[in-house]
């Protein structure tokens, strides 16, 4: 949306719309009111139907009258004009603004201005607030929506925070402990566990089960959920039979009430033969640029950790590419569609690796971004490391610290000195000294302009967001105690 500069020539006087809100006169243009969108009655004021009844007309001047607070309306009008909240809104409560924006039908503009993914700046993230979770369970899974609502599973409960992080609801589920959680919308989520049969689609506001999805396996035993993934069209679920001798990935249509579409990657394990490619997928992620599903799974045995990474064509159910990991197997893998790269953390070395998807072939190999000599390390430095991709960046947790990997793009004619196949990824440590916490990071999730982090032994969700303009913080700091100290100099 391109905000207008707002200057109007006098001959276009008919364009000016006058509104009386709570006794105060406001004037704006038809163009501005149209920016409110079709869901708002303000846009119908701009283009009145002959027998419009949304506003009781003042008989004297024919000025539409809206019986609402004029101070709040001046903020709503600024939001429509510029797409951003004016800084004078600091004196108001975000809840009042949300309520008022819902009345005018422009909540989407408010969400856009406060929780837009385009405002995400990885280098400017700081630990800005804590969302407390009630009870004694620590969070086991976190999943956020594109505009920053977040669902957190802790024990047998799921707590959902709305986009402004000012409201929450907690529901009880049938699981003993939830292992996989995926946000389908701000109100619904899919949840599964490795010790409980079936995938449950839950209404996270009302606390009711919408649907139970199960996998019909050969042994007719229960089907436990190992991993979940989502694309614009499909929900992917990695199931394993209760006897742990078969597994598969089920694909459901998100747009058609989760109708089963296809079963892929079915494995039946007979006898003692064991191969890396029969390990059930514990991580599923959609690579939208190539229309492929990445599935990875690993197994720790007496000879070390083995694992496999596969790329599936979902439409045909065909295996496109597979990499079996033997040396320095992944502790975690993530795919970045916008970078066309797979990232992993080696379990032995704890170092990050990347694999270019642009020229994928049977010989494609990992490129180590750190000390590759550590790959034969016996210490398993990478144990428990997490990796997630968001935007053009990869985020790696090592113990309690967070690394940010970003690509440096060179101008033509300069290939860099390192000669890493033309691609250069560089690391930065996130957080200032006061942001550093020792407790190991257990989950990372991204939504809107925020990053959500959970840690071992902490019954809360950390929110990292950008400090730009100081306005984004506002939403939550009104309600939660922030962890930002005013002057780091006086410590």
């Amino acid at each position: 949306m391109q905000p207008s500069t707002g200057f109007v020539m006098p001959n276009s006087d008919s364009n000016v719309v006058t509104l009386n809100v709570g006794g105060q006169i406001f004037q704006t243009t038809k163009e501005t009111l149209t920016l409110a969108g079709p869901s708002s009655f303000l846009s119908t004021i701009a283009h009145p139907a002959p027998s419009s009844s949304i506003s009781s007309s003042n008989s004297d001047f024919d000025v539409p009258f809206i019986d609402r607070d004029p101070e709040l309306f001046s903020i709503i009008l600024s939001l429509i004009r510029t797409g951003n909240l004016p800084s004078k809104c600091k004196t108001f409560d975000l809840q009042d603004l949300i309520f008022e924006s819902q009345f005018y039908g422009i909540e989407h503009l408010l969400i856009n201005s406060l929780s837009n993914p385009s405002q995400f700046d990885p280098f400017d993230l700081e630990r800005s607030l804590h969302l407390p979770l009630n009870g004694r369970d620590i969070p086991s899974a976190v999943s956020a929506t594109p505009f920053g609502s977040v669902h957190v599973a802790h024990g047998n409960k799921i707590t959902s925070f709305d986009w402004s992080l000012t409201k929450k609801t907690t529901i009880l589920t049938q699981f003993t402990a939830i292992d996989s959680l995926l946000a389908l919308s701000p109100e619904t989520g899919a949840a599964g566990a490795i010790d409980f049969s079936g995938l449950q689609v839950l209404d996270l506001q009302k606390g009711i089960v919408r649907k139970i999805l199960s996998w019909e396996n050969a042994t007719r035993s229960s089907s436990t959920v190992q991993a979940l993934g989502l694309s614009n069209e499909y929900l992917f679920t990695s199931f394993e039979s209760g006897r742990r001798n078969s597994n598969a990935i089920m694909v459901y249509d998100v747009l058609d009430d989760l109708r089963p579409v296809i079963e892929i990657a079915r494995n039946e394990i007979y006898g003692a033969e064991f191969d890396a490619s029969t390990i059930p997928a514990t991580r599923l992620s959609w690579v939208s640029r190539y229309n492929l599903l990445m599935a990875s799974g690993s197994h720790s045995g007496p000879t070390g950790v083995i694992g496999s990474i596969k790329l599936w064509d979902v439409k045909s159910g065909r295996l496109v590419w597979e990499l079996k990991e033997k040396v320095d197997c992944f502790a975690d893998v993530a795919a970045s569609s916008s970078l066309s790269v797979l990232f992993k953390v080696g379990i032995n070395s704890g170092e990050a690796y990347f694999l270019d998807l642009r020229n994928l072939g049977p010989e494609s190999q990992w490129v180590c971004l750190g000390n590759s000599a550590k790959s034969m390390n016996a210490k398993k430095e990478g144990l428990g490391c997490k990796i997630e991709c968001y935007g053009n960046n990869a985020f790696v947790s090592k113990g309690g610290s967070l690394e940010l990997w970003s690509e440096v793009l060179f101008s033509l004619g300069w290939s860099g000195e390192d000669g890493l196949g033309g691609r250069v990824f560089k690391r930065n440590l996130m957080g200032r000294a006061k942001d550093l916490v020792d407790n190991r990071i257990t989950n990372l999730s991204f939504g809107g302009n925020k990053m959500f982090v959970t840690r071992k032994e902490e019954q809360l969700v950390e929110v990292w967001q950008s400090s730009i303009r100081g306005l984004m913080i506002m939403g939550a700091s009104w309600f939660y105690k922030t962890v930002r100290s005013e002057s780091p100099l006086n410590e």
């Binding site: 004037q27 243009t29 001046s74 280098f123 400017d124 000195e417 560089k426 930065n428 957080g431 780091p488």
Partner: protein, 483 residues
């Protein structure tokens, strides 16, 4: 400000901003200069502006009184006020802070980037402040000091950064070869330059130790390159093509007097490039200062080196510990490593011994030597800031009676010395870098995250209580009717 009789009715202009009516004069609207949108309002006869009236009232106050009302500063963020006044084209009236002085500066809120917050190098120019921290470049707005972007470079540690025109930053690293140009918006690598001498491939690995830029007059960046075996030279690089134009002052680097330059300053008023190198070793400090006219060729115009050189007998053993050049005051300043005294040399009158040593009777500071503390020197608009260990002192010139601003001659006898900081500031750590610009002083300390911001302010820090509630609270009970 405006008197009633001066404005006839034709001069008066009515504006409707978002439904609120404002009345002002064309003279007020014109005071922002001919380029502003508001000064054109009377001629274009725009009478309705679809913007927020409260913000406009702050902009109009700025036009009327040439200052923003304090209430507006409290109510709106500086970012928003800047954005709105830029929209109306009156942002030239916003001046940040009073001019910086060494004897009246206080700490304001620090800048600290959220990732890798230890600052290695920084550069201020009229359009932005650049902070280099490890391999990142953060760009800040010069007035509001709000972060505008962070760019990741391929370097692991940037040791020199200079803002060059066209939105580019020139960076160099102690550990990686070449001079590199990065654009911060959009965030991308724009080009790189290596020192290529076909007869000596070792120059390809040369690193950059200092960068200067001649933004006012020319199109060049000057960078001091140093090979791993010590050989060094200053390369003149064209900003547009990012190609080397010429080479100045190549030397072997096998002695302190031929070591690579650690500081480079371009002085546009005299057309000189001044470079210096100061090292401390087992035998104490040693170094040199050299000046070139880059258009005349690669021969230096002037040179001095210490120990030896032009040193006078009374100053033996007091070699320079740091050097800086003031392009506004046209002088070179140095600090003696033993006495901590400030010596200055006029750039227009350099000779065999141009040094004048400043005397100051301030009893708090006189006779205090350096005692092994590190020294960082920085000149800014005829003021000299000296970081000694963690302490910060400064030299400023007394005003003479009847003197016009920006007087011509430097009269060194009128310079006085003061502590800028407080005793507790000194304890935060040794000062490593000082940068000045936009009437602010930026200080980086050893092992301290971020950068301190010092500015001169006219605010005493105390707010006069205007608490209406308090004034009327006693009377409220009388107003309420109790049946």
């Amino acid at each position: 400000m405006e008197t009633h009789q001066s404005s006839s009715t034709t001069d008066r202009i009515k504006l409707n901003v978002g439904g609120a009516l404002f009345e002002t004069t064309t003279k007020t609207l014109n005071s922002a200069g001919p380029d502003s949108l508001l000064s054109n309002l009377s001629s274009t006869r725009i009478n309705f502006i679809d913007r927020d009236p409260d913000l406009f009232s702050a902009v109009l106050s700025l036009l009327r009184t040439h200052r923003l009302p304090s209430a507006a500063l409290r109510r709106f963020s500086s970012y928003q006020l800047l954005h709105e006044s830029r929209l109306y084209g009156v942002d030239s009236l916003l001046n940040s802070t009073p001019s910086l002085s060494t004897f009246d500066a206080s700490l304001s809120s620090p800048l600290s980037p959220p990732s890798d917050p230890f600052i290695c190098s920084l550069s201020f120019s009229s359009d932005r402040l650049l902070l280099a921290h490890n391999g990142l470049i953060s760009s800040y707005h010069p007035l509001t000091l709000s972060l505008s972007s962070t760019t990741r470079t391929h370097l692991d540690d940037i040791s020199s950064i200079r803002n060059v025109s066209n939105g580019l930053a020139a960076v160099g690293s102690d550990s990686s070869p070449g001079l590199h140009f990065y654009s911060t918006s959009p965030r991308k690598h724009a080009g790189s330059t290596l020192w290529v001498d076909p007869t000596d491939p070792r120059t390809n690995k040369a690193r950059v130790t200092a960068i200067a830029d001649d933004s006012e007059v020319g199109n060049s960046v000057f960078a001091s390159f140093e090979c791993w075996h010590g050989e060094n030279a200053v390369l003149v690089v064209d900003k547009e093509t990012m190609k080397v134009v010429s080479e100045i002052g190549r030397q072997t680097g096998n002695a302190a007097k031929s070591a690579a330059m650690r500081k480079l300053t371009w002085v546009p008023a005299v057309g000189l490039l001044v470079g210096s190198s100061v090292r401390s070793g087992t035998l104490g400090y040693s170094g040199y200062i050299r000046a070139w006219d880059p258009r005349a060729g690669s021969e230096e115009v002037w040179e001095t080196s210490e120990p030896g050189g032009s040193g006078r007998s009374s100053r033996i053993g007091d070699t320079m510990a740091d050097v800086d050049v003031d392009p506004d005051g046209l002088f070179i300043a140095k600090v003696g490593c033993r006495s901590g005294d400030l010596g200055v040399a006029d750039l227009r009158n350099l000779g065999t011994d141009p040094w004048v040593y400043l005397e100051d009777p301030n009893p708090r500071l006189s006779g205090v030597g350096l005692n092994g503390r590190s020294v960082v020197l920085r000149c800014y608009r005829k003021h000299v800031f000296v970081g000694k260990g963690g302490g910060l002192e400064g030299w400023s010139r007394l005003k003479k009676e009847g003197e016009v601003e920006e007087g011509g001659e430097n009269e060194w006898g009128l310079y006085r010395r003061n502590y800028v900081d407080k005793e507790e500031d000194e304890k935060r750590g040794a000062i490593r870098k000082i940068e000045c610009g936009g009437n602010r002083l930026f200080v980086c300390r050893e092992n301290v995250e971020g950068v301190e911001v010092w500015e001169t302010s006219n605010s005493s820090g105390w707010k006069f209580p205007l608490d209406v509630k308090q004034l009327y609270s006693q009377d409220i009970s009388a107003l309420v009717d109790i049946p």
